[in-house]
Symmetry: C2
Subunit: 595 residues, 2 copies
């Protein structure tokens, strides 16, 4: 089937005189997760990973993705004639150089400009132009092949109430307008779905795991237009937006209408996310800035922080019930990773304001835990028994916040020394980074290694970043701040500020043997101001005991034991009043003092 | 005088229809320190700092420099009508946006293309083009104003013998040729003076403190041409180069001859250093790569490492004699910082193979130590007495290596608690980074904060990077690896490898009160190989006791005391056989066990 689709595509390419086509995994809003309508790359490859770029030429198909997905690629695409190119850095644009090198001069490359940001297209041009390669926009090439292409999402759009957002749309729009005035511009254009959801306090379910709404928006000083299908809004919503001078105009009118804006006007936009179809349609002058919404959104207000605290209690309660269930079940039988994931979801569903999972839960037994983005399928999931190691990475969307937690637990038997050393080093790394006190403005790449240094001492490491921003009933991977070794990413290069929510999640993975990861969400808080800077620290938000069976306590400093005991005292205090007597006793045991 | 020069420049600009001119501090080789001939910015401002860009418009002159030079700017330029723009990041190109914003459309900006790299000019074009600003090459505009401009350097060029370089020119050229073959290219073009000095094993004195030779070089598969004035070489040198198929051609012929290369040929070059005058003259096709010489040069061979060890002993002996002299003199009188610097130089001069200072020594008493690039002048230097704190940062060029060391010493009286806390935190930071074990490929920005974390705990910090590569009878600040908070610099983004020499130099500075810095050169060494990577560590090369009067030992961990005692045991063992009885006794006391 895949081969047939590729064949049809090649036929089309041939008719359109294209020597190659680049098909990325994103949508017109540069989203990480996309609506079904935009899963073009999946349609032509069968590959379902969230990151990966397909290049089709007449004589070759090739897909670039990173180490998280190598095994998945073999599973899903091993039977087709598609070559895997292994990226060492996720999203690195190595395929561009490869493609340009492989083509003859004057060859033509097709791309749907909607799926490429202005910044990405500039990059491709920079490599293609010296070789006189032509870039051709092919907006509708796919439609005649993909005849059963899904519709664009049309779910109803909900207003995210002030009791959870903590700031009115009017107040947010005013901040944008002040920025417009300050920059002597006329408009501010937004195309990132998470920024639009934040700015207009709207939520829907266009994208799996993330409550986003497919839209563009342009804020002016007099009037704001939200380009999103009108029939998705209640009359009440349309009316209340109108009172704020916000007009709702159908999504497909965005590009034609933006193209009619006066050439003398000035538009602020972030070209890292603005797609090239919009960019090239607009005749007004662009002022290129990092999006104000992206920056403001990372700083959580008091309502959002309180919402997160509430979610963490709900998540902790659900996990307590889940792990009690798991321990008990395993006493008498084996359970598949898939079933375990479903059961975990069911405990979260019982919690107030639950809206869904925030990503596909990872339940990885023994060696499966070493597959970093492992998803157990119903058919191939391993059977978990009351022995060895299990990694559970999961999270939820609640109307008052988003969660993301990883715990690694020992299920029975005697762990070997090397495993305990690795687990203890991961824990020490978590503590080291969480306890760091640092000046405001410090970026993720400067802090990432604090979570690694104890692993490095033993010749260990992990092949992923150490953490990411997290939204408030928003994206579970929210730009901008985070911790990573890669300076080209926003989580490597963004300054940390007070009141941000970020994950800390060091790990260690031994192929076919084990996966270890410990992950909490932390809140950045002001510590002190001195002549040398405003110093910040982190406070753990996530509330659930960290398994102690794999700790080699002789490797812990007194200060680390103190951190461990303080954390578990807090976990018990925060959760216990929401538990019944048996659950409370179970939790008390898991939170007892570590000597 | 400066005002008159600027007036003449404006007259010239007016005649040439220039609305603005950008005058950087560099030369055609993007050197950090430049020959007098290239001190154009100094000529028009009086400002002698090593970093700073001047922009002259008809109605304004403005200079951009970083915090190292704010006080120096006030001293040197306070009387002239030049506005200081304070850069938070050294060398950041903020002036370009400022200039383009301040000019009307279609305005003309003059620049001498020789002084701008291809990468820099592209950056300026990117900002200037949307506003239809024109960039105009003005190669000889200055000459008619600066009538007594110095000549280009004409010192004789010395061959750097194999006993110090450890690798023949033939071997180095062969590595370059292999790279040419691998890239299917025809030539490799070099324009960085330190790379050329390394590649051809040549040294001279064109530039203060750095033994470089003004030249370009192009390596081909048959023949190599070194563009450098022939009369600077001995007949013997010319002949020995000819035997290696290296022809020496006068410097001023470089651009005309390179311009005659066939358009079908392919030339590898590093456009971060290649100037735009050369780039635009060449008709052949460029293959853009990071310079192979820059990369190879950072990896020291056994001869260079042995040379460095020898230098460190010589430097340690000189510093021992110097500090004994200083202690004794201060018992009876006060001595100026300037005199102290001269005396230190005199002790180094007594050492074998001494070739000069590797930078202008910093001798900063009390608050002067807080001026990070402080230079005491004969007239204004402070008088040092046997009390309070003194910072001494100095280094030397020896034929077998380059040194750079900072020590901060307490001269008498009772230090307060806050000062001891800061000093101890700096020492702990040095130890933390030097003891780090990390996978090969880790970049400076990931490691820099390990030297800061103990300061951060007390709300302290320092406003500079933590270290830089160092040459082998070469540049004291050698690209590429180092430690810094800035991802845009080579020392932030370059991977560390085994056998590199790098400084570690955390500090702490309180304006008008004190400057603390502790700096050693360290060698990166392989520690172990595991499935997670090749792990490296550092070994201290610098040999001189660290003052212990300012240490609050209660803040040191046992492991830190152990490091301290092991280091001082090594210092004593390495230096003592080169000292007389009194000197040995003095050093023994400074190296005794810390309890």
């Amino acid at each position: 089937m895949i081969n047939k689709r590729l064949e049809k595509l090649r036929q089309k390419m041939s008719n359109s005189n294209l020597d190659a086509i680049i098909i990325p995994s994103t949508d017109p809003h540069q989203s990480e997760y996309v609506a079904k309508y935009w899963k073009v790359r999946e349609y032509f490859t069968g590959f379902t990973g969230s990151a990966g770029v397909l290049i089709v030429k007449q004589n070759e198909s090739a897909l670039w993705t990173d180490s998280r997905y190598f095994l998945q690629f073999e599973d899903e695409c091993g039977d087709y004639n598609i070559n895997l190119h292994k990226q060492s850095i996720p999203h690195a644009p190595e395929h561009v150089q490869w493609l340009c090198d492989s083509l003859e001069e004057n060859a033509v490359i097709g791309l749907d400009f909607l799926q490429f940001s202005k910044a990405q297209l500039d990059y491709i041009k920079g490599i293609a132009t010296p070789k006189q390669l032509l870039l051709k926009n092919v907006p509708n090439l796919i439609d005649t092949i993909w005849t059963d292409r899904p519709e664009l999402p049309s779910f109803s759009v909900n207003l995210h109430p002030l009791e959870y957002s903590g700031e009115s749309t009017a107040s947010k729009i005013e901040k944008v307008q002040n920025k417009i005035i300050h920059a002597k511009a006329n408009y501010y254009l937004f195309s990132s779905l998470d920024e639009i959801a934040w700015l207009f306090n709207i939520r829907s379910q266009d994208v799996d795991f993330t409550p986003l709404v497919t839209a563009y928006a342009i804020v002016g000083l007099e009037k704001t237009i939200l380009y999103c299908n009108r029939n998705r809004f209640s009359a009440h919503a349309i009316e209340s937006f109108l009172k704020l001078n916000i007009e709702i105009v159908d999504y497909h009118l965005a590009i034609p209408e933006l193209g009619k804006l006066d050439a003398n006007k000035k538009i602020i936009a972030d070209v890292s996310s603005l797609n090239y179809a919009v960019y090239s349609a607009v005749k007004s002058q662009f002022i290129i800035q990092n999006s104000i919404a992206k920056t403001l959104k990372t700083i959580k207000n008091n309502t959002e922080i309180q919402g997160s605290k509430n979610c963490m209690i709900k998540d902790g309660v659900a996990l307590t019930k889940f792990f009690i269930w798991l321990e008990k079940e395993l006493e008498t039988k084996a359970i598949s990773e898939f079933e375990i994931g479903k059961k975990l979801e069911s405990f979260r569903k019982e919690q107030a304001l639950y809206m869904g999972e925030s990503f596909a839960a990872i339940v990885g037994y023994k060696g499966n835990g070493a597959v970093i983005h492992y998803t157990a399928s119903q058919n191939s999931a391993a059977l978990v028994k009351n022995e060895d190691i299990l990694l559970v990475d999961s999270g939820a969307q609640y109307q008052d916040g988003t969660t993301d937690i990883t715990r690694t637990v020992w299920l029975g038997g005697t762990p070997n020394t090397a495993l305990k050393t690795a687990y203890t080093a991961v824990l020490k790394g978590y503590i080291e980074l969480e306890q760091l006190q640092f000046p405001k403005g410090t970026v993720g790449m400067q802090m990432d290694a604090f979570a690694r240094v104890h692993l490095w001492k033993h010749g260990l490491d992990y092949p992923h970043g150490t953490g990411h921003g997290i939204g408030s009933f928003g994206m579970v991977h929210e730009p901008a701040q985070g911790f990573t070794t890669n300076p080209a990413t926003s989580s490597g290069s963004s300054a940390h500020s007070a009141h941000q929510l970020t994950t800390i999640e060091p790990g260690c993975y031994k192929k076919d043997v084990y996966g270890i990861r410990i992950e909490n969400v932390v809140l950045s808080v002001p510590i002190k101001q001195t002549e040398f800077g405003d110093f910040l620290g982190f406070k753990p938000m996530t509330l659930f005991p960290i398994d102690r069976q794999l700790i080699n306590t002789s490797l812990l400093l007194e200060s680390e034991k103190e951190w461990f005991n303080t954390y578990h005292k807090m976990v018990f205090e925060q959760l216990s009043s929401f538990l019944d007597t048996d659950e409370k006793a179970w939790l008390e045991d898991k939170c007892k003092t570590l000597e």
